[in-house]
């Protein structure tokens, strides 16, 4: 009895189990995928914002995909401060030039990369933003400088449609 031969029945068991597993997975997948963003949520992909009223040193917060977006018209001081930071001082090194193509305008998701709270304007040790939830400090470029957040605040895809209108998304 030590020699166990593969029989027709073993093949049938394996084949039945395999087909059953594939069938079960095929049924389970729609149940899982229905929880992903639906077509109507995805359809709200872009939003246009009039920024003509924004003066330097002020921030406009708009809602895009259910999340706040900060649009900051930076003062020259803030720009200088952001551009004079050494890369090695940064937790998540990114050049301000890459984050704000037009230095006067900083557009980013107002969502702390730690656990998703909305950071407060003009607060914190780096004159940028401060997240009240777990104490993350961001600089004038929205880069993480101190605290538990792992990354800089995200810059979404955006463009200037004309001099006064930004299209986000």
């Amino acid at each position: 009895m030590s020699e166990k031969k593969t029989k027709r029945r073993d093949f049938l068991f394996t084949a039945t189990t395999a087909v059953g597993a594939v069938g079960a997975a095929a049924v389970v997948w729609p149940m899982i995928d229905q929880m992903n963003p639906d077509a109507s949520v995805k359809a709200l992909a872009s939003t246009e914002v009039d920024v003509s009223s924004l003066t330097p040193g002020n921030t406009l917060t708009v809602l895009w995909r259910g999340k706040p977006v900060f649009i900051r018209r930076r003062t020259q001081e803030e720009i200088d401060e952001a551009r004079n930071v050494k890369m090695e001082d940064l937790i998540h090194p990114e050049k301000d030039e890459d984050r704000a193509k037009n230095p006067e305008w900083l557009v980013m998701l107002g969502v702390c990369t730690h656990l998703g709270c909305v950071p407060l304007n003009d607060k914190g040790d780096y004159n940028g933003w401060f997240c009240p939830c777990h104490g993350s400090h961001y600089d004038t470029s929205g880069r993480i400088r101190k605290g538990p957040a792992p990354w800089n605040m995200e810059v979404p895809k955006y463009e200037f449609v004309d001099a006064n209108t930004i299209k986000i998304g």
């Binding site: 929880m35 949520v41 999340k67 656990l115 998703g116 709270c117 009240p132 939830c133």
Partner: protein, 420 residues
């Protein structure tokens, strides 16, 4: 066990019981031999059953009036509070009932820790209990989101964002949980569905918990195995039923105090402001019963490791029966463990306190020390203690210490044998 021989007295009863032995089950539950030295810390099982049923009944009635929609949820809760007949009462019972449920479960868990109820042969009871506890936390968290206030919204945002700490797939999982790019209506409706489902899962697990309990029988304050039935046990009914009933009445006084005199003291004022995705409240705190774990999360400066530490703090309990190497169950006979037990209680209370405070300066330092100690207790102190500790002599039966302490031993023995 005697209940296997049980036969109903009436003909109808016999006819029914032969086809579905429900009466045998009822007989087993009433006659179930229980150690006669159970103290009031053992009444929390019954109290927890009461809490679960209270939450299910009040939850069902609230669901008749609540509307799970981001635009209407907040208003529908106010509608329940102001317009629905006794809506305020039902909602306050449900909201405070969650806190009472956790209060009871923490006492129940710490009872287990003191008397070693998690040790062989009761590991499965313990693990089922931990699963119930996890489900309770999930249900409580999702329930807190339903009123769609500021704390609901931002609590949901912070907790779901914990999953984003998972490398590579984290962001995808969070989007999947939300059903969008932020906490919004799809999140609310699925949370409502799951909040409705979980209590019934818990109910099923409670049945398994009690079933697993009835195999070895109750542990007891002395922590020794008892022969059952014997002079060390009493039938569940009426002895334990009356004791549980009295404890439940006391518990309900506390419960009623919160419901009628301080219905919002355990909640947060910010949750009476409707959810606003543009503004985060200045100070986000979870409900009191999650604070120790929140403190652990915040005490670790790294996002992923913080989440790992928080989850480990809960899951470490599941392997506790194998971390505690001592053969002696009850802390009564473990002089060192008894001290470490109370240090752990203090440690968890401290974690709860700093969890409610801002994560900075001294609070953060205390949180870090307390977190380290929490893990030290389970991973180092317990395994070592079981080997090093000199335990006290354990009595051979529950009756022995009582008789041994009697100045008139012979008379007591005599009396005891007469009772038998």
């Amino acid at each position: 066990m005697s209940d296997h021989d049980y036969r109903p007295k009436s003909k109808v009863g016999q006819w029914f019981n032969d086809r579905l032995p429900l009466l045998t089950l009822a007989n087993h539950l009433t006659d179930y031999p229980t150690p006669k030295n159970l103290n009031y810390w053992w009444t929390f099982g019954g109290i927890l059953t009461f809490c679960l049923i209270t939450q299910i009944v009040t939850g069902l009635t609230l669901a008749m009036h609540y509307i799970a929609h981001a635009d209407m949820a907040f208003e529908s809760v106010e509608h329940i509070m102001r317009d629905v007949n006794y809506g305020w009462l039902i909602r306050y019972i449900h909201a405070n009932g969650a806190s009472m449920f956790f209060l009871a479960v923490y006492i129940h868990i710490f009872r287990s820790l003191f008397y070693g109820s998690y040790k062989a042969p009761r590991e499965i009871i313990w693990i089922i209990g931990i699963i119930i506890y996890l489900l309770m936390m999930a249900a409580a968290f999702m329930g807190y989101v339903l009123p769609w206030g500021q704390m609901s919204f931002w609590g949901a945002t912070v907790i779901t964002n914990l999953f984003s700490a998972i490398p590579l797939v984290g962001e995808g999982i969070v989007t999947w949980l939300w059903g969008g790019y932020s906490v919004d209506n799809p999140t609310l409706t699925r949370f409502f569905t799951l909040h409705y489902l979980i209590p019934f899962l818990i109910l099923g697990l409670v049945v398994l918990h009690i079933w697993a309990l009835h195999v070895p029988g109750n542990n007891n304050p002395v922590g020794i195995d008892v022969k059952k039935p014997s002079k060390d046990t009493v039938p569940f009914h009426p002895y334990i039923v009356i004791k549980d009933g009295f404890a439940l009445l006391m518990f309900m006084i506390v419960f009623a105090f919160f419901v009628f005199y301080a219905p919002n003291i355990l909640g947060h004022a910010d949750n009476y402001i409707e959810a606003n995705p543009m503004v985060t409240p200045a100070h986000i705190v979870p409900e009191w019963y999650l604070l120790p774990f929140y403190a652990i999360l915040r005490s670790v400066p790294d996002k992923l490791l913080g989440v790992v530490a928080m989850l480990s703090a809960i899951l470490i309990l599941a392997v506790l029966p194998w971390l505690d190497t001592s053969k002696i169950r009850s802390a009564v006979f473990r002089p060192l463990y008894k001290q470490f037990y109370w240090i752990l209680v203090a440690d968890v209370l401290i974690l709860g306190y700093v969890g409610a405070m801002p994560a900075e300066g001294l609070y953060l330092l205390i949180a870090r020390v307390a977190t380290a100690y929490y893990f030290l207790h389970f991973l180092v102190i317990l395994p070592v203690l079981g080997i090093k500790e000199k335990t006290l002599p354990v009595p051979l039966s529950i009756t022995e210490p009582v008789l041994g302490g009697s100045p008139n031993l012979a008379a007591a023995r005599n009396k005891e044998s007469k009772i038998e």
